[in-house]
């Protein structure tokens, strides 16, 4: 085994680490959550990452979006993911998709993925990701943040979680008032990434049919069951 992966063991075995190379994970959104998720998926050794974002970095992203820095303001977020992975782990493949994830582009973007990660910043996109993953039979790891708060759940095809979480008609969340400090996306991204790895390797317990609700202001973590 290569030294770069030696500290993954024995949280995952050498054989499991080798298997990670054969998987394809699509991360929709390369902002607060997505940047950290791509970083971790690349470092652990996921073979192919699709990084999706049509947006460009701006100064307001610098407080929390790990892929942004003072040299790439105005540049493509998905391209920044590619540039970053060339430096961090050139052994993996990163496909950067500089497109808006919508009903026109969405299906082709996620097709063939083993897991999709919802790192989007709008309810419409999140709902679409849920619908398309159900249609294409792909597990989805949902994450969302606002201020000191965040939520994660893992959704398998046929589960109803996204219908409960992202209801039709919801246009925006409390993040518009609460902002997005740097620690909340980093924390929730780590949870989402751990979920992805467990789904791929079929190990441990996941947040399927449960929502983890994190309150970092009061350091309270609730796992609320979503009955089938």
């Amino acid at each position: 085994m290569e030294d770069r992966y030696s500290r993954n063991v024995s949280s995952i075995t050498e054989e499991e680490n080798r298997r990670l190379k054969s998987f394809k994970v699509c991360v929709i959104g390369c902002g607060g959550l997505g940047g950290y998720i791509i970083e971790m998926l690349g470092r652990i050794g996921i073979g192919t990452i699709t990084a999706v974002d049509y947006d460009r970095f701006e100064e307001t992203n610098l407080n929390r979006q790990i892929l942004s820095d003072t040299t790439n303001l105005g540049q493509s977020k998905s391209l920044a993911a590619l540039e970053r992975m060339k430096k961090v782990n050139p052994e993996i493949t990163l496909n950067n998709v500089d497109l808006r994830f919508d009903s026109t582009s969405g299906e082709e973007i996620i097709r063939g993925s083993d897991v999709v990660v919802d790192a989007l910043d709008n309810p419409q996109g999140k709902r679409l990701a849920g619908d398309l993953c159900a249609k294409l039979n792909i597990p989805l790891v949902h994450g969302a943040i606002a201020g000191w708060y965040g939520q994660v759940t893992t959704v398998y095809p046929g589960d109803k979680a996204m219908d409960v979480i992202c209801k039709e008609g919801t246009s925006c969340g409390i993040e518009k008032e609460l902002g997005n400090p740097p620690f909340t996306p980093a924390f929730l991204a780590a949870i989402q990434t751990a979920e992805v790895i467990k789904i791929l390797l079929k190990k441990g317990g996941t947040l399927r049919n449960k929502i983890l609700y994190a309150d970092l202001l009061n350091m309270e973590f609730d796992i609320v069951e979503l009955k089938k």
Binding site: D121, N122, V164, V224
Partner: protein, 78 residues
Amino acid sequence: MVIDLKVEVRLFATFREGREKKYFLDMPEGSRVIDLLDMLKIPAEEVSILLLNGRDGDAMRILDESDVVAVFPPVGGG
């Protein structure tokens, strides 16, 4: 005679501001979920996720004894 029902309400995120995290309330029989929200001064339109006993709930549903209601504001950032 009005019979009181014992119900549990769990609040999350900003709904906890100026309120408790959890309430055990006695509600008159025939009360609806929305009556609970009114009592706690939570506008129904600000609720994104409403779980009734762990399932997607409806604010107009009539409460039963020992119901557990969980309400979350919309969290949509990424």
